[in-house]
């Protein structure tokens, strides 16, 4: 009898173990907070908010640690837990976190479509009221808020602004009597002169094809008429017309020309962007197409006066706006089901306060989206001039890889590598882009 008793007990124990283990995944799923749940008030013990971004570089982390330390000093009831991964892995990691339900309270997002899909899926908190009906709005460059809006509602807070410029080595340009080109033809002529003199004209690393998207995106914006481009990117165009403008093919052909004529360094598809930039800094190449945020890296290694920059004249003769600049703000969103939305807003407000904005520019040399943060005192002259160019541009062409549906990006961007190599004609790629765009359009309906 005793033996039987223990057998039964062990069966029951194991069965219960099995059942609870099976049940765990359900139980672990986070209980969605009520949208209007009251934020925990001070006195109930410290509240922890999770903060996730894409700048794991030591200088960047130093800055954020500083901000968090300052914030926690003045907000003793809030603890900020930070995590950061690099740019490329961030695109995967944020999706994994969304799928697992372990979404951080505050997360980084590129502007444009990348952020809108979070808003559409109900993963981002509507910040319109918090921003527009308080003095917070006076602290932020409002033009940079635009790409974070969906249906007029604000879902993201920009914390820095960025744009792409063609940067050149002043010494090399002087040696061959070259001046800053203002048209596509002049640009090609500059490249040709450099090449015949044995200088590699442009450093280009396209291991990850977002780098080619910066070229092609810039060209698209200038070669395709603005409304047509928006309708294609946002998939509002007529299904048969999607991505059929001749400007798109022309953009890819111009991009390919640069490689065909040997104006890029050897094998761009096998080189990373940062090593291409290093070859420019080392003086091995005459130009490199980089972001304003990278100016400080170049300045630190080459000297502030060793380089100049100009707007890439990639679209001469095209139907688009030639005064557009490619670039976008970078910013943060708040998880819609965050347990502590008020605290998260409080932290973002602190992060974009005038003091923290100035501190950002001073420490990192990167332009902030905080009003008045970039001044002659806080930034190097090239960055100040870059920000002036952004302000005088008629508008921004957002990074195309974060400005259109991810499925189209997956066809378009890797395809650019093939076009660059000469493995695929430009027209064939645009046909494929048209096909996938039409397919995505029907799926979204």
């Amino acid at each position: 009898m005793k033996k039987r008793f223990w057998s039964i007990v062990s069966v029951l124990l194991l069965a219960s173990l099995l059942l609870t283990a099976c049940g765990t995944p359900e139980a672990a799923a986070p209980a969605p907070a009520e949208a209007d749940a009251p934020a925990q008030t001070a006195g109930e013990g410290p509240v922890t908010i999770r903060f996730f971004h894409k700048w794991p570089e030591p200088e960047q982390l130093d800055y954020y640690n500083f901000v968090i330390a300052e914030f926690e000093k003045t907000h003793p009831n809030i603890k900020v837990e930070m995590e950061a991964v690099a740019d490329e892995p961030y695109k995967d990691k944020i999706r994994i976190l969304m799928a697992s339900g372990e979404v951080p309270d505050i997360y980084f997002s590129w502007a444009g479509e990348f952020s809108w899909k979070f808003a559409r899926a109900g993963q981002a908190l509507d910040l319109t009221d918090a921003l527009m009906n308080s003095d917070w709005k006076d602290n932020i460059v409002l033009a940079a808020v635009e790409p974070y809006k969906v249906d007029g509602k604000v879902y993201g807070i920009p914390m820095r602004i960025n744009a792409k410029f063609m940067v050149y080595n002043k010494a090399i340009f002087a040696q061959y009597n070259l001046s800053e080109p203002t048209t596509w033809e002049e640009f090609l002529a500059v490249c040709e002169t450099l090449k015949t003199n044995g200088v590699t004209p442009i450093a280009f690393g396209n291991e990850f094809p977002w780098a080619s998207a910066h070229y092609v995106g810039d060209m698209n914006a200038k070669l395709v008429e603005g409304d047509t481009l928006r309708a294609d990117y946002l998939l509002t165009a007529d299904s048969a017309a999607l991505f059929t403008d001749a400007g798109y093919v022309e953009a890819l052909n111009r991009f390919r020309t640069l490689n065909e004529k040997g104006y890029f360094n050897e094998g761009p598809n096998g080189i990373s962007h940062s090593s291409a930039r290093s070859s420019f800094i080392a003086g091995n190449t005459a130009m490199v197409y980089i972001e304003l945020e990278e100016f400080i890296t170049v300045a630190n290694d080459m000297g502030t006066d060793a380089f100049g920059f100009f707007q890439f004249p990639s679209g001469t003769g095209g139907n688009g706006d030639q005064k557009l600049l490619t670039g976008a703000p970078d910013g943060f969103m708040i998880y819609n089901k965050s347990q502590h939305p008020a605290e998260a807003v409080e932290f973002l407000k602190f992060l974009t306060s005038p003091e923290m904005g100035k501190e950002y520019v001073k420490r990192l040399g990167i332009p902030s989206a905080v009003v008045g943060a970039v001044t002659a005192e806080t930034a190097i002259p090239a960055v100040v001039a870059g920000v002036e160019s952004i302000n005088s541009a008629t508008g921004m062409a957002l990074w195309m890889d974060t400005d259109m549906n991810a499925k189209i990006v997956e066809v378009y961007l890797p395809g650019m590598q093939a076009v660059l190599n000469g493995d695929k004609p430009a027209a064939e790629l645009m046909q494929e882009v048209h096909d996938i765009a039409a397919q995505v359009q029907t799926e979204l309906k």
Binding site: L14, A21, C22, M98, A121, E266, N269, G270, A406, A418
Partner: protein, 298 residues
């Protein structure tokens, strides 16, 4: 009561198996079923709303050229890996165990060839990424040094060479590992067999083909199936070195399903590809088990 006791006694072994079965069910079998269930929908990581598609994702696979491209790369991976990690590794093992090399250099070569196997894949991938670099990489520099400029390539950036360059690194890493397993097997062959072969006048080559190979047959079978299954499951080295580029040229199934799921926001389709991968590896495992059993019967 007696019947009851009997019942309990016959159930006892299953009771002891129960924890293992429970753990396996929760962490292996249940996810496989769940994966299949999820593959019937269109859904993304960001937007949890699910649209039922039935077998739509599976039908789509047939017309997805990247699936076929990935499969082709996996097969290439398997064929090349079997050649190097089974055939070449066995020959190397036999050479290192031969009277010529073993006494003086056996240990040195064994360690030297085994070394890459203890390195982390990311370290190996990044190191070779630098070796393959078009401008400053060792390979192209060497080719230029001996005036073979025409052979220089952007090894990881050209559609024709990318997948082979990645496969080559895998071989470099694992040949030594397989070789050591073969050495163990060869050391297990009784010396008398080789002695009598020699007395019968067998050449070194004949000793290898007629004595060594049949005697390490089990190891050959096991390594072949492990290598083939590994070639279909490969992900890390491709992810580190090329990310599947340029333009999908070096995509393998594992890598492609990851991109589909976490970049294209198509979790359902990704799950369908995972099911395909599961069917392939399951079939291969099944074949391995069958061959393995026929081996132990005789």
């Amino acid at each position: 009561m007696i019947n009851m006791n009997k019942l309990i006694r016959s159930a006892t072994p299953y009771l002891f198996l129960l924890p293992a079965i429970a753990v396996m069910s929760i962490f292996v079998y249940l996810p496989i079923l769940e994966n299949f269930y999820y593959s019937l929908f269109r859904w993304s990581a960001i937007d949890p709303e699910m649209h039922f598609l039935g077998l739509g994702n599976y039908i789509r696979m047939f017309s997805d050229k990247y699936i076929w491209l990935s499969l082709k790369n996996n097969v290439l991976y398997a064929v090349i890996s079997v050649f190097f990690q089974v055939a070449v590794a066995l020959i190397l093992a036999y050479l290192l165990e031969s009277k010529l090399i073993r006494p003086a250099w056996g240990t040195f070569f064994r360690n030297a060839l085994f070394m890459p196997a203890v390195l982390a894949v990311t370290v190996v991938g990044l190191t070779w990424y630098l070796i393959y670099r078009p401008d400053t990489g060792l390979i192209n520099q060497f080719l230029r040094l001996i005036n073979l400029d025409s052979l220089t390539r952007t090894w990881l950036g050209e559609a024709d060479t990318a997948i082979y360059s990645v496969i080559a690194v895998s071989q470099w890493q694992w040949v030594g590992y397989c070789m050591v397993l073969f050495i163990v097997a060869i050391q297990g062959i009784p010396d008398e067999l080789f002695e009598s072969a020699r007395m019968d006048g067998a050449t070194v080559w004949q000793q290898f083909i007629l004595v060594a190979v049949p005697m390490v047959r089990e190891t050959i079978l096991v390594l072949t199936s492990i290598t083939v299954i590994g070639a279909f499951k490969v992900f890390d080295i491709v992810y580190v070195m090329t990310g599947g580029g340029p333009n999908h040229a070096s995509d393998v199934l594992g890598n492609y399903l990851y991109r589909v799921g976490f970049r294209n926001d198509e979790m359902g389709y990704s799950a369908a590809i995972a099911t395909l991968l599961f069917v392939i590896t399951f079939a291969l495992t099944f074949i391995q088990l069958r061959i393995g059993r026929s081996g132990s019967e005789d």
